[in-house]
């Protein structure tokens, strides 16, 4: 059995790497992929807390299913954005997207 701190370590490191990916990139698709990494780290931390709790309620895993649903919806939205912007010749640089700016 893995110690609990190891699971917190992998979750924390994946969260930090995803945060650095969001902060350091301007490409739209790469930012959304980094958000997917943060979702993966949050599922790891949630399942490790669930697995190591003494009196864990299985209904806590509804949260896990909702995280998966949000991740799946985000990937669908990403592909929709990708195909639209690719076919219309819009740049993927998010600093150049200014149509919704005030």
């Amino acid at each position: 059995m893995i110690p609990f701190t190891y699971l917190l370590a992998i979750g924390l490191s994946l969260f930090g790497i995803g945060l650095a990916g969001i902060a350091s990139e301007k490409h739209l698709v790469v930012i959304l992929l980094s958000i997917e990494v943060i979702f993966a780290s949050s599922t790891i931390i949630l399942v490790s807390f669930f697995s190591f709790a003494s009196n864990a309620d299985p209904s806590a895993l509804i949260m896990l299913v909702s995280i998966w649903a949000v991740a799946a919806a985000e990937i669908i939205a990403l592909i929709t954005f990708y195909v639209y912007m690719k076919s219309n010749g819009i740049s993927f640089d998010i600093s150049k997207l200014s149509k919704l700016k005030w």
Partner: protein, 160 residues
């Protein structure tokens, strides 16, 4: 003890793949690296005896969504060079924090010599048992998808 050693490998796989997402120049390579992050988290769920969650992660995220994403994004040739290395410090700080947790001597695993000798014998049995066939199936699926994309690109270049 073998599970801790496998955990180190999974940690390395997931962390390196997550860094590769924003270091690689091609967008399709970044998407493949994301699928390896999902594969690593599925391994983690398998290591803490949550088999059903690992199976769902493997089916939904690795098998379904990553394959869809690879096929959708594979037309992109070159990613914009927009990486700012100054913000890479955030990832390094979090990695050092997590490694300071991981290599704290009060949490470190104590491996005896006979356990270390026993590792080579039990590693093959551990890898070849349980859910290993599913991971092999997912690897073959990835190979088929990437090969199909490559063949399709060659074919369209021949036609057009």
């Amino acid at each position: 003890m073998i599970s801790v050693i496998i955990f180190y490998m999974v940690f390395a796989l997931a962390a390196l793949s997550a860094i590769c997402i924003f270091l690689l120049k091609k967008l399709s390579y970044a998407v493949i690296a994301l699928s390896f992050v999902f594969l690593g988290s599925s391994f983690v769920f398998l290591l803490i005896n949550q088999d059903a969650i690992a199976l769902l992660q493997l089916l939904v995220l690795v098998g379904g969504l990553s394959t869809y994403l690879i096929v959708a994004v594979s037309t992109e040739e070159h990613q914009l060079a927009l990486f700012k290395p100054g913000y890479f410090v955030i990832a390094l700080i979090s990695l050092s924090l997590s490694f300071s947790i991981l290599f704290n001597p009060s949490f470190a695993p104590q491996i005896s010599t006979e356990q270390a000798l026993d590792f080579a014998a039990s590693a093959g049995a551990a890898i070849a048992s349980g859910y290993a066939l599913l991971y092999i199936a997912v690897a073959m699926l990835f190979v088929v998808v990437i090969g199909a994309v490559v063949v399709l690109k060659e074919f369209t270049e021949l036609i057009v």
